[in-house]
């Protein structure tokens, strides 16, 4: 299908873009592969940024691939270059408004960018940090190390904000997490999980404050130290030397919009990864796609989604038709607790919580839509995660009363035999 004259350009060199490039070679793409990213760093793993990277003594990132791999697979890496314009009619794009690059096939792996909430004074304060890139984390580390009071405020109690809280606590910070909703993790988990993590953080000395909407921030001096005063709508306020935003991300759709692609909460793609333009594909955090198992449209922010989609689109670009069909999974590590999630729980009707007997903090939450197992959230419980994964994949029915009975050890025997 492809010839050595073809050029595949990939915009975004992170989990989705990098894996797409290497998978294209596996699928025998003969032409050029040009992989572009505005980030000047050699592509790295993002998950460690909020976990081990903050606490580690080194400033080296975990590379996705060593630099030699790009050479070996003849992948041209253009780092520190931003694509400023996309001309889908003439099949070309512009780097930093200058260099023009033509493509045969284009992959948008543009991911997502942090939301900057509209808070009075935030722009003027300018001394806040986001949690997305290696540079963000390096800046947090430097600012934290230079701080006198070691006071950190994190706005937003999602996974990344909470992981960052745990990491900073580990290196001695005084951390306050301000969550606008009635509970942390509200957007992504049930109250059982929120409660567990609230307790975990509280036990570890991180202050988790919910129903706290930040209304205003201002720079001020406290005992001669330059701090940021963070005001909430309920008239409470907190001071921070390091202010971190972790309120979520929005997909990068600007180029897709320029190209006139169909957009939703992300760039709309078919199960092949193809957008509404047959020469343009989208993959990873930016792709709004259909999940065949759950029969629903979603946009997911996870390594699994980026990696698995990259395999599908590489195959399709090389003329090997494959459909995206996976059960999503995700993990989060906080303190010494491992959370593993499989499935999409959105449409659950009921759930069962299992707290294993004689084991501290070994918990699993099983989400159902009536008889159908949708998802499992497993806390320090890889066995539940693995069994759940298999049951969901095989659409197994589960004897709920057995699952709920912790005197029966968790095993595959909780499935109903047809």
């Amino acid at each position: 299908m492809c010839t050595s004259k073809d050029i595949c350009v990939i915009i975004g060199a992170s989990h989705a873009g990098v894996n797409t490039a290497f998978n294209l070679r596996k699928e025998k793409w003969l032409g050029k592969i040009i992989l572009i990213d505005a980030d000047p760093e050699l592509p790295y793993h993002r998950p460690p940024l909020s976990k081990t990277y903050l606490t580690a003594n080194t400033s080296t990132t975990n590379l996705l691939k060593p630099v030699e791999s790009y050479k070996k697979d003849n992948i041209t890496l253009l780092l520190g270059k931003k694509v400023t314009r996309l001309d889908a009619v003439n099949r070309c794009l512009f780097l930093d408004n200058e260099t023009k690059i033509y493509y045969t096939k284009l992959v948008l792996a543009t991911g997502a960018k942090p939301i900057i909430p509209t808070i009075e004074g935030l722009k003027e304060t300018a001394s806040y940090f986001c949690l997305r890139t290696a540079a963000d984390i390096v800046a947090i580390k430097e600012s934290y190390n230079a701080s006198k009071t070691k006071k950190v405020v994190i706005i937003g109690g999602g996974y990344i904000g909470l992981e960052t809280a745990a990491s900073l606590k580990k290196i001695g910070a005084e951390v306050v997490v301000l969550e606008r909703e009635s509970r942390i993790l509200k957007r992504v988990a049930t109250a059982v999980i929120s409660d567990f993590f609230r307790d975990l953080h509280t036990q570890n000395g991180v202050q988790i404050l919910e129903n706290k909407e930040v209304s205003k921030v201002e720079n001020t001096l406290e005992n001669g130290v330059k701090v940021t005063k963070v005001h909430c709508t309920d008239a409470s306020y907190f001071t921070a030397e390091v202010l971190i935003l972790g309120v979520g991300v929005v997909p990068n759709k600007k180029l897709a919009k320029q190209a006139g692609l169909k957009l939703k909460n992300g760039i709309s793609v078919a199960n092949t990864g193809e957008t509404s333009n047959l020469n343009i594909y989208a993959v990873g955090d930016c792709a709004y796609h259909y999940n065949l198992h759950y029969k629903t449209y979603v946009r997911l922010e996870s390594v699994q989604n980026a990696v698995d989609q990259s395999k599908i689109i590489a195959a399709n670009i090389c003329g090997n038709p494959l459909m995206y069909n996976t059960i999503p999974w995700f993990w989060s590590d906080q303190y010494n607790v491992k959370l593993q999630i499989v499935g999409l729980a959105e449409n659950y009707t009921d759930y069962i919580v299992r707290e294993e007997q004689d084991k501290e903090n070994v918990i699993s939450v099983w989400y159902f839509n009536n008889d159908e197992l949708l998802a499992v959230n497993a806390i320090n419980h890889t066995k539940a995660y693995v069994i759940g994964t298999k049951f969901i994949k095989e659409s197994k029915k589960i004897a709920k009363e057995k699952l709920a009975d912790t005197s029966i050890p968790l095993s595959k025997d909780i499935a109903v035999v047809n």
Binding site: P48, N62, P66, V303, W331, K338, T382, V386
Partner: protein
Amino acid sequence: MAKITFITSSNEKITVAATEGSVMELAVNNNVQGIDGDCGGVCSCATCHVFVAPEDVDKVGVASEIETDMLELADDANEYSRLCCQIPVTDAIDNVVFTVAK
């Protein structure tokens, strides 16, 4: 310093040496086909599955409970299976041979 050999599913034999990191990192850094290390080495993805040569099992040691559970996600796992992000490179595993799972 440990010298470690990987045998890939296309029967390529790669011998490399290292003093630190995990066996997964060593494999990724040396382009060993079949070891992806998608989760970055935190025992969450099972894309770093290897088989330890039977004679090396004692040197390499056994999998933790989490790792053993995760290995159940690999269809071809057997008693010699390990997720190699969980194996630190140390002198103890000098001359060990790992066969990469398909």
